[in-house]
């Protein structure tokens, strides 16, 4: 179930340069699953469209969601100024989450694609290997992955921590085996990972990004190219907000 809600800000903190962790209390938390996202609305009404942000952690006991985001423009800059006691309009939870499959899972996050993998890691059964890619040693959420995953492998662009290179380089270097890959990150990373998964015959789920307007599947603004004919328009366009954001890597053109 989706709700439009005035969420209460419980706390906000800085995790790394320009990366914020926001905890909000909202009934949307009661329906959320890992891999879903929420639309955040700006207080400044000249900015009308929602900012989609993935759910990083869910605490149903106290109805809170943790959102981790990078300041990328005016909207996220506005959100970064929120403090405890403030309110924010939200719509969610939106989209479909990651299906929790059996077998040995590997979760892969790149940059601001790291946060949504945390709740997933907590909910997956079996020993999870987390492979996280960062620009440099200004990392975030690593402690949480150490606590919740069986193994944490890191790749950095500048080689300051872990493997110097991409998450795929780290997977190869560390010989990580898995039956299912769950991934979120920039498109080139998803593309490389999908190719790796195909070569190794591993099932791979990717979380996609696209500009959104409605967030609920009505406007057809956020489509990505799909390999098969889609159910909505019977063309080759799946809606990231409603049919995704999580897709099988073989289902979409990366």
């Amino acid at each position: 179930m989706k709700v439009k809600d005035t969420a209460k800000v419980i706390s906000q903190s800085v995790l790394a340069e320009g990366v914020y962790s926001l905890i909000i209390e909202t009934k949307a938390a009661n329906y959320a699953v890992p891999g879903q996202f929420v639309s955040l609305y700006c207080q400044d009404h000249s900015r009308l469209l929602p900012r989609p942000i993935s759910i990083c952690e869910i605490d149903k006991d106290v109805s809170t969601l943790r959102l981790v985001y990078r300041v990328a423009g005016k909207g996220t800059d506005e959100f970064s100024k929120l403090t405890s006691g403030d309110t924010i309009e939200i719509l969610g939870p939106l989209g479909n989450g990651f299906p929790l499959e059996g077998g040995k899972p590997m979760v892969v996050g790149g940059g601001i694609g790291v946060p949504p993998m945390l709740q997933l890691t907590k909910e997956l059964e079996g020993s999870v290997t987390a492979v996280m890619g960062y620009r440099n040693d200004d990392m975030f959420l690593t402690e949480e992955f150490v606590d919740n995953a069986a193994e944490l492998v890191i790749a950095t662009d500048d080689g300051s921590v872990g493997t110097c290179g991409t998450v795929v380089d780290a997977i190869i270097e560390n010989n990580i085996e898995a039956d299912v890959i769950y991934a979120c990150g920039p498109k080139p990373m998803l593309r490389a990972l999908a190719q790796y998964a195909a070569e190794h015959d591993i099932k791979c789920y990717v979380s996609m990004e696209e500009r959104m307007a409605c967030g609920v599947g009505a406007c057809l603004g956020c489509v990505c190219q799909s390999t098969d004919v889609d159910d909505h328009s019977h063309v080759h366009n799946k809606r990231v907000c409603a049919d995704g954001p999580v897709f099988l890597s073989t289902e979409v053109e990366l």
Binding site: M1, K2, K4, Y41, H45, S46, R47, L48, L49, P50, L91, E210, R211, M212, A213, C214, G215, V216, G217, A218, C219, L220, G221, C222, V223, C224, H232, S233, H234, V235, H236, N237, A242
Partner: protein, 302 residues
Amino acid sequence: MNTKVTIAGVEFQNPIMEASGTFGSGMEYGEFVDLNKLGAVVTKGVADKPWPGNPTPRVAEVKCGMLNAIGLQNPGIDVFVERDLAFLEQYKNTRVIVNVCGHSLEEYINVVDRLAGENRVDMLEINISCPNVKEGGIAFGQDPKMAYLVTEEVKKHAKQPVIMKLSPNVTDITEMAKAVEAAGADAISLINTLTGMKIDVERQSFVLANKTGGMSGPAVHPIAVRMVYQCANAVKVPIIGMGGIETWEDAVEMMLAGATAVSVGTANFYNPTATLDILEGMKDYMIRKNIEDINSIVGLVK
């Protein structure tokens, strides 16, 4: 208190509709809005065959508004009838207006013919802002002669009353209104989106893959009010007003300018219950102003 309005013999329980393309066929918003409470559901433009639409990015935010270049992605009339019309069957209190698009006259007519036997369709809304492939890419909606021609042909085939939806991207909107009225349109709706552009200064490129997109949202409201007013004073057919309506004040303003009913588009994206909130606000206004019949405010401001 009467909120009923009548357009071309079709009675609506209230004058609040949602605008084509912003609400799908209502399915996606059913979680937030009881569709049975709306004056009408106006469905996303449908063509005779599926259209894939434009490449992404298809939407961009601009100050107090947005640009879209969806490119009229739609599943084609067959799927639409089987799925969307069947879905709308259950909402008996609400009228159904089907928005029609096409690249050529034949394509419009194919859809209109296909809908002729569908009882659930109360009215047709003909979007003449579609890319006109046959006539060299200019939309039918920018040339009064072409608009006349489409209207005349559609009227020959249509079994439901026809609303012609006008584009604001013209020098004189009243010329277009007069042309479609003369060709037999039962009503007009306006405004469709205004062509705009946004450039990303960091990337030094267009934000939309299509370069240009249709602008909508609160920023266009004053233009829409002006155009509705001009048309109300130029033609006799009823007008459905839209463009930037987000509050009951905006809706009332549009009716005072001459609209018999109003559509809410972009506002749904940031307030999924905008339509019903507007309806409630309008009723409060009627009570406060001692307005017995909502029709009495239509075109009140001369």
